[in-house]
């Protein structure tokens, strides 16, 4: 059993374990003692093995944001239940998801429409950037989940295609 963490698009598996009075991180079988002591507000002192880092760290639900050695990282903890539910949901290209948060400018298809790869399904806008969301494969539109003017978060499902029978 490992916990799953996302940094950007990359998945990492690690485990936290007790070590004496504190904790150690198990990453690929390598155990490293880790500890955090708070300094002021979001500024903390992070000890990793022998090394010490002054870090700015904020936790927001399953997201941990940190500024470490001049770089900014956003780590997301993925709990196993939602992860497997998502993986089981549908295959590649069945969902047209929002690559960014924004609002819907135009809806170009409706349920039952036959679409070809590259065909525009919806047009979205965020921070004045307009983008067409295109079908990744040929298929039949199963559902359009947004309407013109509606806002959505990143990775929201905009359009679903009916499962590919040959796939």
């Amino acid at each position: 059993m490992r916990h799953l963490f996302l940094i950007g698009e990359a998945e990492h598996r690690a485990w936290l374990t007790r070590r004496g009075d504190g904790f150690a991180l198990d990453l690929d079988g390598v155990l490293t003692t880790v500890s955090i002591e708070s300094a002021a507000g979001s500024r903390v002192r992070l000890r990793v093995g022998e090394a010490t880092h002054d870090v700015v760290l904020v936790t927001d639900g399953d997201h941990v944001h940190l500024h470490l050695d001049g770089e900014i990282y956003q780590v997301t903890y993925r709990d196993p239940v939602s992860r497997y539910a998502e993986a089981a949901a549908q295959g590649l290209g069945d969902l047209a998801k929002a690559p960014m948060p924004g609002s819907v400018v135009a809806v170009r298809v409706s349920a039952g429409d036959v679409v070809i790869p590259g065909q525009a399904l919806v047009v979205i806008e965020s921070m004045k950037l307009e983008m067409a969301i295109n079908a990744e494969r040929a298929g039949v539109v199963e559902g359009v989940h947004v309407a013109v003017g509606e806002t959505f978060e990143r990775d929201a499902t905009l359009v679903t295609l009916a499962p590919d029978k040959e796939g």
Partner: protein
């Protein structure tokens, strides 16, 4: 005591903008001893501009953006609040001749050019015709309005690659490069839709796209008496999606002779237009040639790099010019010192094609130090939404020479803490340390040609351990799971496998 303000024919200035530029303009208005007001939509509560103004004018609209574009509402409320002058910042209503005209009709001062000048130069098509008519070079082009029916045919006659632009636009929005003219009709349709929505004007024009060009612009100042000076050029070639990311002054890509020619051309265009206000003349520079691109009749986002090398406060100059004062210096009295770099901090995810990012600013701490200036449009705790453009702040760094300025800027980026919303800070740092950037081999496609700069870098095992260690200790579920395991078993370290 108001030693400077006493000379102004107005004592209250309303800033009709938001974000970093509203805060920037307010700073000078206050420094001059004038009373400062700022408009604001509820979405901007808690922003720096709202905190620093002497008075607030709340505006409403169907969307936050609509409120900032509502000229009638802003003018009416400005009058009610006792404003005698309006500074438009950039974007929104800054290049709207009708807005300028209505402000003047209401008895207030518009801090900008005469409305007729905005009409002449703010419209890209008439500005190009004007520049060409006065003997300044423009790129081969086709203008839709000249004969809409033959527009596509005229584009095809020039041949690819072509750049399609909204006639009434700016900021790179709605612009498209068409290399394959077989897709021309489709691209024109999308460009028209964007132009209509962003600028309320679907008309387009097209010009020959210069491959790997440099974008050079020249800052000018003109007073109400026909005097015009230039404040040297800015190098703005580092762009993504036609939007500037890093700007410098001076340009490292120009020889002294080229610099003189391009700066003289810019001042010449402004002089021919009897230009009044701070303004920017933009050029495309490719090979040995440069073409007039457009003139921006307002303060520019990247104006601080010019301020850094000339020591002038451009907003103060705008206000003095609007107050009817003559320019306080001649061309030969303007000098430049050292090198300045600006890096734009955008709320976006470079690794996902620079797509916009949103979130709450859980921690926000800009850098400081010698030669470091940060113009922030946001404060800690503020929500970054998809309603506005993604510019959060500008880092401006001045150094003795280009190398020092670039390295100082990269180091300052390392100290820039923005948590809770993805930004391009890591990307900017990699960009400023790119060998071609360090060598000054800049062009507008550089960022697109180096996708590795935008990708999330691979982490060393040490860094990965530190980042995951910090995250694991901070997530309650992960800590609880560790505490649930008896320490004896955990200490053995290998029972899990």
């Amino acid at each position: 005591m108001r030693p400077e303000g006493a000379d102004f024919p107005f004592d209250t200035v309303l800033v009709a903008n938001r974000g970093e530029i509203a805060a920037r303009v307010l700073r000078t208005v206050r420094a001059l001893g004038l009373r400062s007001l700022v408009v604001h939509h509820a979405a901007d509560a808690g922003s720096p501009a709202v905190r620093m103004a002497d008075g607030l004018v709340e505006i409403t609209g169907s969307t936050p953006t609509a409120a900032y574009l509502d000229a009638g509402q802003i003018i009416a409320k400005a009058l009610d609040a006792g404003a005698q002058a309006i500074h438009p910042g950039y974007g929104f209503l800054s290049e709207n001749a009708d807005f300028a005209r209505k402000i003047e009709a209401a008895g207030m001062v518009f801090v900008g050019p005469a409305p007729e000048t905005i009409e002449l130069l703010g419209d890209k098509v008439s500005a190009r015709d004007f520049a060409a008519g006065h003997g300044f070079p423009i790129a081969p082009s086709a203008v839709e309005a000249h004969d809409p029916a033959s527009f596509a045919d005229r584009i095809r006659a020039i041949g690819g690659p072509m750049l399609i632009k909204p006639a009434g636009g700016g900021g790179g929005k709605g612009m498209r490069i068409v290399r394959d003219l077989a897709r021309l009709d489709e691209e024109l349709e999308r460009a028209r839709s964007e132009a209509g929505r962003y600028f309320g004007d679907p008309r387009l024009y097209a010009e020959r796209y210069v491959e790997r060009p440099r974008h050079i612009e020249v800052q000018v100042l003109g007073d109400a008496y026909g005097e015009v000076v230039h404040l040297f050029e800015r190098e703005c070639s580092l762009q993504r999606r036609f939007q500037k990311v890093v700007e410098e002054a001076p340009s490292s890509t120009l020889s002294d002779a080229e610099r003189e020619r391009i700066c003289d051309a810019a001042a010449g265009i402004a002089r021919a237009a009897r230009y009044r206000n701070a303004g920017t003349v933009e050029f495309i520079h490719g090979g040995d040639a440069f073409y007039f691109l457009e003139m921006n009749t307002r303060l520019q986002v990247e104006h601080p790099v010019t301020e850094a090398i000339t020591g002038l406060d451009l907003v103060a100059e705008q206000l003095k010019i609007a107050a009817g004062r003559p320019l306080g210096f001649t061309q030969s009295e303007i000098t430049r010192t050292g090198h300045a770099v600006e890096a734009r901090i955008y709320a976006e995810d470079p690794a996902r094609g620079f797509t916009p990012a949103t979130g709450r600013l859980l921690a926000y701490s800009p850098p400081a130090g010698d030669g470091v200036r940060v113009d922030s449009g946001v404060s800690e705790g503020q929500d970054i939404t998809a309603a506005f453009d993604p510019l959060l702040a500008k880092l401006v760094v001045h150094g003795a020479d280009r190398r020092e300025a670039l390295e100082r800027a990269a180091r300052a980026l390392s100290d820039f803490v923005v948590l809770g919303c993805r930004t391009n800070i890591g990307f900017l740092k990699r960009l400023l340390r790119d060998p071609d950037v360090l060598a000054g081999a800049l062009h507008t496609d550089l960022i697109a040609e180096k996708p590795a700069l935008a990708a999330d870098p691979a982490l060393s095992p040490e860094t990965l351990t530190a980042v995951l260690g910090a995250a694991a200790l901070s997530i309650r579920t992960v800590r609880d799971a560790a505490l649930a395991v008896p320490p004896l078993h955990a200490a053995l370290g290998d029972w899990r496998n």
